[in-house]
């Protein structure tokens, strides 16, 4: 009997990286998982991995920037599992470029995925969470959403704006027993890193490790276990707060 037994959770961007790790950990803790993402094939892979740990899971194809997709995700969740207890707004994009090379299109793209996506998710989850007598929302931010970072003007701006959404959600959700928190991963090793950093990870992995005080990169399950804790009733007194999972990086 896991700490999330009986709870139904939606994890966006669950087709890869941190989202996939969160889906697996939440399923291991007993949650029924609605995994969403844009890629059917990767979605099927997540479903397979979650089932391998004994989880109950469905995949729903979703682009988080499309409101119609959110309607579909909510309808499918309700028709399959009958309720919603938790939304993990994990889907996100990053563009890492010097300010002079960033375009307004880059910024608008990140604002759509990293800000409008979670906004739409919260808006569409809200009535179902109220109906369930409460629930939890977690927005996946980043430690650069708190502190900024070089080549991250657009990304940090989007994640910083998302923090405002989280705080306002916590204030507005309180009367309905809806808790809203943000998770701030640091340097987590995912299969998406080469998309940002380039191929041949063995040539730069040590450089990433060197930026973490503990000299260790996080694994996606490290973020997953934090999501499990925050989604569980053990964290019933926790809302409107920021949780860093970063090997001490934000202390630097």
């Amino acid at each position: 009997m896991g700490v999330l037994s009986g709870k139904v959770v939606i994890v966006t961007g669950a087709t890869s990286g941190i989202g996939k790790g969160c889906a697996i950990e939440m399923a291991k803790a007993g949650a029924k998982v609605v995994a969403t993402g844009r890629h059917e094939e990767r979605g099927a892979n997540t479903v397979r991995l979650v089932k391998e740990v004994g989880g109950d899971v469905i995949f729903v194809r979703q682009d988080v920037t499309q409101e119609a997709d959110w309607v579909k995700v909510m309808d499918t969740t309700l028709s399959t599992y009958g309720r919603l207890d938790c939304l993990l707004n994990n889907a996100g994009e990053a563009v890492v470029k010097p300010l002079e090379q960033l375009t307004i299109d880059h910024l608008q793209f990140l604002l759509r995925v990293d800000l409008e996506g979670p906004f739409l998710g919260m808006k569409h989850a809200w009535p179902h969470l109220k109906k369930a007598g409460g629930g939890t929302i977690m927005n996946m931010s980043s430690i650069t959403g708190q502190k900024g970072g070089p080549k991250g003007s657009a990304y940090c701006a989007a994640k910083g704006a998302q923090l405002g959404l989280t705080r306002a959600g916590a204030l507005e959700g309180a009367p309905f027993n809806i808790r809203v928190n943000s998770i701030h991963p640091g340097m987590i090793w995912t299969e998406g890193i080469p998309d940002v950093m380039g191929p041949n990870p063995e040539t730069y992995r040590h450089l990433l490790e060197a930026t973490v005080p503990t000299k260790v990169l996080g694994e996606t399950w490290h973020v997953g276990t934090a999501a499990v804790y925050l989604a569980s009733d053990e964290a019933a007194y926790i809302t409107g707060a920021e949780f860093n999972v970063d090997g001490g990086k934000s202390a630097t």
Binding site: R167, A170, L171, G173, A174, P175, R179, G186, I188, V212, P213, T214, K215, V216, G218, E219, H222, V223, T225, A226, V228, Y229, E234, A235, A236, Y237, I238, T239, G240, A241, E242, F243, N244, V245, D246, G247, G248, K249, S250, A251, T252
Partner: protein, 256 residues
């Protein structure tokens, strides 16, 4: 297999209301728990209620000798601690006009010196841990009042802010030295404890005061000791293996 099976924990101020909840939760998760307190009667009672997994050690956190003796007793009995919870704390409501230098010093001694010494002894006890083992974990009780000042609590808020940065510095030192030790500051809000009851204003009742405090956070209630104990058990476990050098709020949203 419980998540803290085989771990050895020392909880300072373990016999108080919050300390008891922390000790009980760590033990429930499989740890052996040294209840460290100046209150011998209460501490022994709690330790014996934990059976073979409980041990009382006398500890005045302001005394370096007492820390040395407590760590030695735990190490001789079970081995060096894997988890230290610096929970002992002192609060005396007194605004800047009322507070005496003696009040300030006592607060800084118990909250500041006590946590400093705990960290110092814990790092010494944990630094040799191999990288392949679970991290040694130092959990310091700061407070939501370590982020925001409060009129009646100049000494307490300052001491808790000190603990917050002490924690970061310890975490960074351990990382820089390559020690397999994590350090985290837990930031509780108003928790139903002896300490919260000290804040009930003259002429007010506990119920009235608690109702007022409940209105200051988003969850709309006073926190339970278990809320904090849950967070500490999580942070002490491998599940929090990538969490170090950071604040961990358990405050009902009172700092939003």
């Amino acid at each position: 297999m419980a998540r803290l099976d085989g771990r050895i924990a020392l909880v300072s101020g373990g016999a108080g209301v919050l300390g008891q909840a922390i000790c009980a939760r760590l033990a429930a998760d499989g740890a052996r728990v040294a209840v460290a307190d100046i209150d011998e009667a209460k501490g022994r009672a709690l330790a014996s209620s934990l059976g073979a997994n409980g041990l009382f050690v006398a500890l005045d956190v302001t005394s370096e000798d007492a820390w040395r003796a407590a760590m030695e007793t735990v190490t001789k009995t079970w081995g060096p601690p894997d988890i230290l919870v610096n929970n002992a704390g002192y609060l005396k409501p007194a605004n800047i006009e009322q507070a005496t230098l003696a009040d300030w010093r006592k607060t800084m001694q118990i909250n500041g010196d006590g946590t400093f010494l705990g960290c110092k002894f814990a790092v010494a006890a944990m630094k040799a841990r191999p990288k392949s083992a679970s991290s040694g974990v130092i959990i310091n009780l700061s407070s939501a009042m370590g982020i925001r000042g409060r009129a009646p609590h100049p000494a307490y808020t300052a001491s808790k802010a000190a603990i917050r940065l002490l924690t970061q510095s310890v975490a960074k030192h351990c990382a820089a030295e390559g020690y397999n030790i994590r350090a985290v500051a837990v930031m509780p809000g108003a928790i139903d404890s002896d300490m919260l009851r000290l804040n009930i204003p003259a002429g007010s009742t506990k119920d009235d005061y608690y109702a007022q405090v409940s209105g200051l956070n988003l969850v709309g209630r006073v926190g339970k000791p278990a809320d904090v104990a849950n967070a500490i058990a999580f942070l002490a476990s491998d599940e929090a293996g990538f969490i170090s050098g950071t604040d961990f709020p358990v405050d009902g949203g009172s700092t939003v």
